[in-house]
Subunit: 403 residues, 2 copies
Amino acid sequence: MITSTTGPQPADFADVRATNLAVVLRFVREHAPCSRADIAASTGLNKATVSSLIADLIDRRLVRETGLTENRVGRPATMLVLDGSPYAAIGVEINLDHVSAVATGLAGERLLTWRRAFSGGESVNRGMAEVGAIIRRVLGRMAKEERQVLGLAVAVPGLVDVQGTARIAPNLGWRDADIGGDLAKALRDPGFPIQVDNDANLAALAEQRFGAHAGASDLVCLTGGIGVGAGIILDGRLRRGRLGYSGEIGHVQLDPDGPACPCGRRGCLEVMAGIGAVLRRKVSPAEVQMEIEEAVRLARAGDAGTLATLDAVGRSLGKGVSILANLLNPEVVVLGGYYVPLAPWLLPAVHDELGRRVIALEAGGCQVVASALGHDAAALGGAARVLDSIDSGRLPGGLSRIP
Amino acid sequence: MITSTTGPQPADFADVRATNLAVVLRFVREHAPCSRADIAASTGLNKATVSSLIADLIDRRLVRETGLTENRVGRPATMLVLDGSPYAAIGVEINLDHVSAVATGLAGERLLTWRRAFSGGESVNRGMAEVGAIIRRVLGRMAKEERQVLGLAVAVPGLVDVQGTARIAPNLGWRDADIGGDLAKALRDPGFPIQVDNDANLAALAEQRFGAHAGASDLVCLTGGIGVGAGIILDGRLRRGRLGYSGEIGHVQLDPDGPACPCGRRGCLEVMAGIGAVLRRKVSPAEVQMEIEEAVRLARAGDAGTLATLDAVGRSLGKGVSILANLLNPEVVVLGGYYVPLAPWLLPAVHDELGRRVIALEAGGCQVVASALGHDAAALGGAARVLDSIDSGRLPGGLSRIP
């Protein structure tokens, strides 16, 4: 089954029991060890309902009793903690020159992190064959560990609609690629949901769950690559817009008289503040890393040209961030990808522009920081998205193993 | 009590019973007449719980039995409809030269719409005295009709923080005005919540509940005045950002070499696409209406200068709307205020720019339309916000009348 929605909206006319199961599971995740009475007191659910929900979660091996009890007024209470030992969530990130895969357990603990060279950008078929091969190896590892895979989410650098079709992935050259469907075939209907999402969206989910600002309600993640995309979290949830195309900040025009962008427009954020603006020459995707390391070396050495370039890129980036701050008033904007090693030289200019351009005092409280998650944030975000689905009430059915 | 939050987040660790009450109330609002069994079947709540929730809602006179029954397989079911006859929601909009007040019943039916000249922009004290006087007259009318006031929400053209303080209302010249607190004093603690919000936010709530695109999940409302603000609804709820300062599109820079803006920056959306860009001369707030009517007359008559001005303003507005469409992928952007009479001449240029600038095909499905709600949209949105609070579970306590 391929699904790509954001999960059931709680307190809609959907199944209230599923919502309540999710509420209880999240409570245990955040407050374990805790008792049934703690849950009842904090959620307002009555004790009989909580006992029934907990019995269900124990059946699914999502929660377990510790055996420990805590003495309170009256009688001792059996304490509950998250179980989840038989489960895994998988995230995969498709990049121009490599594919990353991450698997985590139910509590988000990292089970594996793999990276493989990728040459499938030319055709969707070849790309999907390569990605499918990597995922099969991850599934093999999870089967060996006797873990049931809760789901897989795949990050793609491009416009992904809410059905999970990659409409346009310009730098890969893909159009209307049914990545979820292709992978389901390649994996022979693996029995868990496959989700496909924009890479900035998944990086934002990773920041929300695992980053230095984990738990922030209003967070925007900016991917720093040749392309620049935004993942927008407001009031605690990723906001995709009507068809899933939110976060396309890359071709917002900063200057009508700015440099020509490969998209045919002028003065786009991507051409003024993307990583391409830092490189001294046109390079292949595989060479970008090396070029950025060289820029860092030159900046450290005080090379005037490099410092001027980074200041200019930082100013353009600051213009883009100030649009986000004015429109969305986030608590934090997290800079990911290649912005991370360059952040010491970009951030002063970003902060300066923010101070000038944001209407609210002190930039509306908006912080701008470099990501602490490293290069596989979008893959990790894929696993986070699977865990989010569980938290939203899409619980695993039982304990059947992968075939 | 002054409150200004967005109401309890359903399925958070808040009171689940309150959430379930709200779920049932919304179901009756949207599906009346309906039976208890219908509610149980659609919400997944068990029948005993539904009966208990309905008894509570009947006690509060939010729901009533029709006396009608419907024969189904088995036995006849008593049908339920929204009651709410003893309630009123009040919205007030503070403008530069007038104040509007709207009262509605629980189902949104309009009870009164008033507009009064306003000269209180110079000082907060004088302004609050004038606004307080109007509200007292509205309350008097509601008391005469024996309606309990569920709440009052006040729209202010400026930055309003989540506590309801108007931090900066530049065109009124107000700073750090505790409008909610001042009104509570002026009304002598009236016993209902007073909320204060940005005018674009409340206009967006009015569009979501009462406009031509009512029910749209992803909707942005742009106020068309001397100032331009955005109210942003994503996934069905207003998104305020961290401190409440979202939607400040007015001073997003469209062109670094554009005309000087009164704010001190250059090329702001407000100076290029605000109503001031349509006027031929500097006018007082009271004269704007007349000037816009003259512009409409000239445009109808085919005056070349006016048409060129409206095309240029439409192009700048299109740049702004395309930023919204790229970042947020809304289903619809609703143009309010003075954009409404000018829409026939603005929209062609807006659509053209949208087609050029939005990355997703067909502008990501984003429609741009003129509001059908008229000039008091933000006041109506105040009433909508009060009704939203009820829908979110902040139910009235009982049937006590206004003192």
